[in-house]
């Protein structure tokens, strides 16, 4: 697929999601009466709100207004905090980025060396040990792991704060929770990527030429193992965003994840739709970047004709 076609497809997915949100919002009935009690609000006020948010005219007119508002970054008014939804979400963003960034680093710090060791000992005792831990980590839900950490470090040992943000100590447990659970998945991917790379003919031929195992590992195995690992990045970004909704709630971390949970409970639709579209945008852009990186990393895909 050419670059233009990929970008077009990304836009198509984004448009599909925006449209689905619009359809779902309209399917529940008059959005104004969902927000205001029609019996206790003057008719003129309702009409004024209709004008302000573009809920007038045919459904198609409303759809056009809706799209143009979103393109201008106007997602509506947060009923929960009485402010612009855009600024409500944006002020929560740094906390989530900090959490997800640190967790991603921890995930790689665990996953790459452990996965490599398991692959190099494939079938051995160490490998089986690592894979058992990976299966356990995969079945351990975020909130169970988080509560277990709170029980251990906050309730029993009284070492770490269980709730809130501010110091580095606050960051430890949420990062451990997301980092460890994602490392369980990532380790498996690293292991199988390296195992696949070890089977390549270039590795066999390098070995036949008498190249040292160390050099084979760095010059042939690692570059080839990078390709599948790059492909799963969007998957892991999505998984971390999803995990932040639960983990931020467990640890009282004031980020976007907790915001979406609060907003859903309060049915603050403006904030929810803003977050959904932001996540969709991030995921689609990540996918696109991965596609681009892939053709840079693997010259074969760039040279191969489109199919």
């Amino acid at each position: 697929m050419t670059l233009a076609l990929r970008i077009l497809r990304g836009f198509l997915s984004l448009w599909l999601i925006v449209t689905l949100v619009f359809v779902a919002l309209r399917a529940t009935g008059d959005p104004i009466t969902a927000i205001f009690d029609p019996d206790n609000t003057p008719k003129a006020a309702l009409e004024a709100y209709r004008q302000q948010w573009g809920y007038t005219g045919t459904v198609f007119d409303q759809y056009l207004v809706y799209i143009s508002n979103i393109l201008h970054g106007e997602f509506g008014f947060s009923s929960m905090s009485n402010r612009d939804a855009y600024s409500v979400v944006m002020e929560r963003l740094p906390a989530t980025l900090q959490l997800v960034g640190c967790s991603a680093l921890l995930m790689m710090a665990i996953g790459i060396p452990v996965g490599a060791v398991a692959a190099l000992n494939s079938g051995g005792r160490l490998d089986r040990f690592v894979m058992t831990f990976s299966t356990v980590g995969f079945a351990l839900p975020n909130f169970v792991l988080g509560l277990a950490l709170i029980l251990l470090f906050s309730v029993n040992l009284r070492l770490l704060p269980s709730n809130g943000i501010g110091t580095a100590a606050h960051l430890i447990m949420p990062v451990l929770t997301i980092g460890i659970s994602k490392a369980a998945i990532f380790t498996r991917f690293v292991r199988s990527a390296i195992l696949d790379a070890l089977k390549l003919t270039c590795v066999t031929s390098a070995r036949a030429r008498g190249v040292s195992e160390w050099q084979i590992f760095w010059h042939h195995v690692i570059p080839n193992a990078m390709l599948p690992l790059v492909t799963i990045t969007p998957l892991l970004v999505g998984a971390m965003v999803a995990a932040s909704a639960v983990v931020e709630t467990v640890f009282g971390w004031p980020g976007v994840g907790r915001l979406i949970v609060e907003s859903v409970a309060q049915r603050d639709l403006a904030v929810v739709q803003m977050i959904v579209m932001m996540i969709a945008l991030v995921m689609i852009v990540t996918n696109l970047l991965v596609d681009l990186a892939y053709s840079k990393l693997d010259p074969r895909t760039a040279l191969a004709p489109a199919h």
């Binding site: 839900p141 999505g238 998984a239 965003v241 999803a242 603050d268």
Partner: protein, 285 residues
Amino acid sequence: MSIATMVRKGGRDFLLVPPGVLLAMFWLLACLSLVIVLPLVSHLDVTAIDLRARLSPPIGFGGDWAHPLGTDDLGRDVLARLVASLRTSLAIALGAVIISATIGTLIGILAAHLRGWVDQVVVAAVDAQVSVPFIIISLTLTAIFGNNLYLFIFILGMFGWERYTRLARAMTMASRGRGYVLAMSTLGFSWPRIYLRHVLPNIASTLLVTATITFPEVILLETSLSFLGLGIQPPMTSLGNMLGFGRSYLLTGWWIAVAPGLAIFLCALSVSIIGDWARSVIGRI
């Protein structure tokens, strides 16, 4: 994967079940029988309140046999609530997997049969579904339509449909060129009959393994949403709901959260161990 190598080492016979898988099967069977038998034997009252035994600890931590797993802050029996929650969570997850497997497979077969624009739309929908984390989609639907049980089951029943669709579509397309399908269509059998009676049994094992692998994820999704207070609502209980409630009592009654937490973990672990094993067995047939 580790299980597959263990099987291979254990001999040529792949039906040799490794001990870990046996243990997982045993645990699931124990859970199932507990969920089915216990309500028949004793009256499970999840809302019965024993005010004199509030926050009583489990046996081994100073508790007595009246409440083997202790009680919560209202004096409700943790074991009774655990069994009831397990029943709700397992039943919902099972129902959801059946719904998504049926719908997903049908869409996949239809796309493979009709081809053309229908196929294009299905592929685009699968792509769109993959691009947004499912929990975010379920949160959005809950925000828009409000929280109720039917919506919740619908949401869980959507989970993973694209996996079955993808598989069924690819395998149906592949089977169209096979001799038996050509023979059947030449003999004049109708397409629904060929697909449902002949193609489906041939691809069923792969779909079943996918369902096994999806099952723990559905349990985790259900418990996550219920934990956040956006799934099963009281007076019904589910494992996630119970854990979310027990979260407030970590200081005074840790067992309220530990019991459902362990149950979720062990059930999800057992099903994924069995799923991994099944996948390795299928892969070698």
